[in-house]
């Protein structure tokens, strides 16, 4: 349990994760500073979702460490609920609770986990809904909303826990192109507010605009890491170049 000044908000140390014989993460190391926005890029199946799920302790890791607030939260027996209270995650497929209205989706965890009173939790939720243009949807059920609205509700639901770090897993890839913008606006907003974020994304232009650093994940490790101008425009590694070439070609088709 070390503690030092100016430590990173989140530190991954040689994280390994395999599913059976499939070694997905093979020693991922990455420091994420406070107020930083790190974009995770890489080809499909390279382990972006896996990495984010490991960070939120939804998957146990096989080796390595995940340091958060001076503690290795990945160690077996660590109070995962305590860590998850401070790390929020938004999934590609929204995963809203279909049997609860929008407001009930958002207030559930603040009430049951943080112990907020009903009024306080609802006030917090209403503020966030208003901020993200969803004020009139509070009473609706998730399946009445458009994909973009659902994804924004999912983001609000995670934000209502006031996490220190937010993880976003390709939150626009299930959306129609015209809905992508409204969700990305939310991310811009959050960056403005100084939230520390890790986002897996296929939107290179967006990564370039919003990320402070870009991490290219390949072969189970961080193959290249740096500011977006460098990684996306002038990559040092051959495999990064290949990946970016494939992405631009795919865009053209």
């Amino acid at each position: 349990m070390t503690s030092s000044e100016a430590r990173p908000a989140l530190r991954l140390e040689k994280v390994h994760k395999a599913y059976g014989d499939n070694a997905v993460l093979r020693g991922v190391s990455l420091d994420i500073d406070e107020h930083e926005v790190v974009a995770l890029i890489g080809s499909s199946g390279c382990g972006k979702s896996t990495l984010l799920r490991c960070l939120d302790l939804l998957e146990p890791i096989d080796a390595g460490a995940i340091w958060f607030e001076g503690e290795d939260i990945s160690w077996p027996g660590y109070d995962v609920n305590a860590a998850r209270r401070k790390i929020g995650i938004v999934f590609q497929s929204f995963n809203l609770f279909p049997h609860r209205s929008v407001i009930d989706n958002i207030t559930l965890a603040p009430r049951k986990v943080l112990g907020l009173g009903g009024d306080e939790a609802e006030a917090r939720a209403s503020d966030l809904l208003t901020r993200f243009g969803l004020a009139d949807k509070a009473a609706d059920y998730p399946d009445r909303l458009s994909g973009g609205q659902q994804q924004r509700v999912a983001i609000v639901r995670a934000l209502a826990m006031q996490p220190k770090i937010m993880l976003f897993d390709e939150i626009t890839s299930a959306l129609d192109p015209e809905l992508v913008g409204e969700v990305l606006n939310v991310i811009r907003d959050l960056k403005q507010a100084g939230l520390t974020m890790v986002l897996a994304t296929h939107e290179m232009t967006f990564a370039r605009e919003v990320a402070t650093r870009v991490a290219f994940l390949d072969g189970g490790e961080v193959a290249e890491l740096g500011p977006p101008e460098q990684v996306l425009s002038d990559p040092q590694q051959e495999r990064t170049r290949q990946f970016l070439r494939r992405v631009t070609e795919a865009r053209r088709i």
């Binding site: 799920r53 929020g88 995650i89 999934f91 497929s93 995963n95 559930l108 965890a109 986990v113 009445r144």
Partner: protein, 287 residues
């Protein structure tokens, strides 16, 4: 961030009139055809050679009038047994189903017990359970336990139906996508809270139609309690009269009351199933 443009809905009065007229015609056709079919059936039955004998021993108005007060008394007991057994069955069934889904090593013995319970109990005919509990346990004269055969017959019903209900609920729990639990856990809810607020409500909603089916079966199976002759339960009342007089009208009267009890439940079950279907088709994309 959002832009919602709303315009007034447009209706064509002629189109609406055409729809209404079609609907009226459909009602007329279905009414006439139903009356005709039922009329023919009645005629066939009443004119058949065996009808007078059947009417005498199954549809005898005099016996029906005599037996009615006792059947009504029995009806009360039937309803009480059903109404008290059902909540207990739901709770026990849910516990069994949840325990069966627990993966932590500490729960292994409980999980094995739950599986064994479902397998064993579902293998035994309900009527045997009622005989064993209803006659067997009161005969032991155990201190501190109720010695009413009626109570133990009720208990046997609870034991039996809990196993079936547990299986239905387990199917419901397994049908909730794991990503829902992951989302709940990711928000910091613990395992119990995730079950309580996220998984179980969705599971129960999904299996409501088959659950109601089990309730209907239970309501009918309260008749089995008659075999231990405890109290005057509806079927038992009918039995006493029928065997005294060699006339089966009391059974028909009792049967009518069972139908009166189960039909509303069946309609309700259908209505719930229909609502369920509409709901799940409205959504889809979200999960």
């Amino acid at each position: 961030m959002t832009s919602t443009t709303s315009a007034a809905p447009v209706h064509d009065p002629e189109r609406l009139a055409a729809i209404a007229s079609r609907r009226r015609r459909n009602t007329t056709v279905s009414t006439v055809s139903t009356v005709v079919v039922l009329g023919i059936l009645t005629l066939l039955i009443v004119t058949s050679p065996g009808w007078p004998a059947v009417r005498e021993s199954f549809f005898n108005a005099e016996y029906a009038r005599d037996v009615l007060p006792d059947i009504l008394k029995g009806l009360r007991l039937t309803v009480i047994m059903f109404a008290t057994a059902e909540p207990v069955i739901l709770v026990v069934g849910l516990l069994l189903a949840v325990v069966r889904g627990l993966t932590a090593p500490i729960f292994t013995p409980l999980r094995i017990l739950s599986i064994a319970y479902a397998d064993v109990v579902r293998g035994i005919p309900t009527i045997l359970l009622i005989l064993m509990f209803g006659f067997g346990i009161p005969a032991l004269n155990l201190q501190g336990l109720p010695d009413s055969p009626l109570f133990w017959a009720w208990f046997a019903l609870v034991v039996s139906y809990s196993a079936y209900v547990a299986e239905v609920l387990r199917a419901g729990l397994e049908s909730v996508h794991p990503s829902q639990r992951a989302a709940a856990r990711a928000l910091g809810l613990n395992q119990y809270q995730s079950l309580r607020y996220v998984v179980v409500p969705q599971a129960v909603r999904r299996v409501t139609p088959p659950l109601l089916n089990d309730f209907i079966a239970l309501q009918k199976d309260t008749a089995l309690v008659a075999i231990i002759g405890a109290g005057i339960e509806m079927t038992r009342a009918a039995q006493i009269y029928a065997f005294d007089a060699f006339n089966y009208t009391p059974f028909v009267v009792a049967a009518c009351f069972y139908i009166l009890l189960t039909v509303p439940l069946s309609r309700w079950a259908d209505w719930m199933a229909e609502r369920q279907r509409r709901r799940s088709q409205a959504g889809g994309g979200a999960l």
